[in-house]
């Protein structure tokens, strides 16, 4: 499944009410490390069916960034059953993204 963009409008239905764990990628167009992370997340998203990966552009969705206390990007937040389970800040390689989802 490809990475879908989410906004304040569909955050609840796509993330909080999801029956699968959701990995939210908070990013921005001006952020180099975010651009490096994007193809990695695309790959993981295509390979895995047990987790949904979505993208939040923090410039378009500043309220979401504020709500979830995102102050540094790229920031990956894993949601399980509508609540934050864990987060990772900064560019990480594919194996670490997979470990982050698995553990």
């Amino acid at each position: 499944m490809s990475v879908i963009k989410v906004s304040k409008e569909n955050f609840e239905s796509e993330v909080l009410n999801s029956d699968k764990p959701v990995l939210v990628d908070f990013n921005a167009n001006w952020c180099g490390p975010c651009k490096m992370l994007k193809p990695i997340l695309d790959e993981v998203s295509e390979e895995r069916t047990d987790v949904k990966i979505v993208s939040v552009n923090i410039d378009d969705e500043d309220e979401l960034a504020e709500d979830y206390s995102v102050y540094s990007i790229p920031c990956l937040v894993l949601f399980k059953n509508g609540a934050e389970a864990k987060r990772s800040v900064g560019l990480i390689p594919k194996t670490e993204v997979e470990n982050f989802i698995n553990q």
Binding site: G32, K35, M36, S69, V70, Y71, V89, G90, P93
Partner: protein
Amino acid sequence: MYDVIIIGAGPAGLTAAIYARRAEKKALVLEAKSYGGQIVNTPDIENYPVCPHISGFDFATNLYEQTKALGAEIVFEKAVDIINGEKEKEVVTEKGKYSCKAIIIATGSENRKLGVEGENELIGRGISYCATCDGAFYRKKTVAVVGGGNTALEDALYLADVAEKVYLIHRRDSFRGEEATLNKLKERDNVQFVLNSTVTALKAEKRLNAIEVTDKDGKVTEICVNGLFVAVGRIPETQNFGKTVELDESGYVVAGENCVTNADGVFVAGDNRVKSVRQLVTATADGAVAATEAVKYINQL
């Protein structure tokens, strides 16, 4: 067997791979994280000859594609050791071993941490090591910068345009950074200098909300901040290679402008080498020099 293994896929390492390939040597680049190194964090590079403006991401991606197109192999594994045999060398990674005739260490450097309790947990929740990356989150907020070098001064100046108030905390009363930048900072009404002081504690609930600062007389002050930008220097990533090559007291690999180390057939390129100017252009220059020296070495074996 490879002719040359290059450890690190930043500007120095990838440039070394380009030069090795153009000398028709079989080259492998090993990278622990992702290509590009720290330049990826720079939104706009303005001091690289010929490119008046290029983003760090574009620079790194172009360099990576160029290196691959020339036939260098790039493998994402962390190098943990070097076995420096006389005829054959080996680079040991977390997953395996690769043999070669020459090695170029181009591992760069990482941010030095403050070493205050709670720092790691607050990264991305108020603690940052990159003002240009994260400054935008602190619009109209209060931040502190800690450090006394150019990076600290430039970070403070950048943040003075964005944030409501900027504290600049430094353990001495004079700065190592450029006078011109310091003077610009002194003209800013929203920048307050906190000198002869160190950050001794971080106060946080869900995120950082204050720091405790101790001055040289032991007086403790609490300052409310939304963000703390740490700019206290960098540490060369050479820990795994200290038994192979000579390091200076700060951990930089000892080598002159020819990038030749004390270990036969082992070369160094980029920010992890002892040098006075650590810039993109000197990193790529090192890559070219180290690869040329490595090729010379291989050809005389």
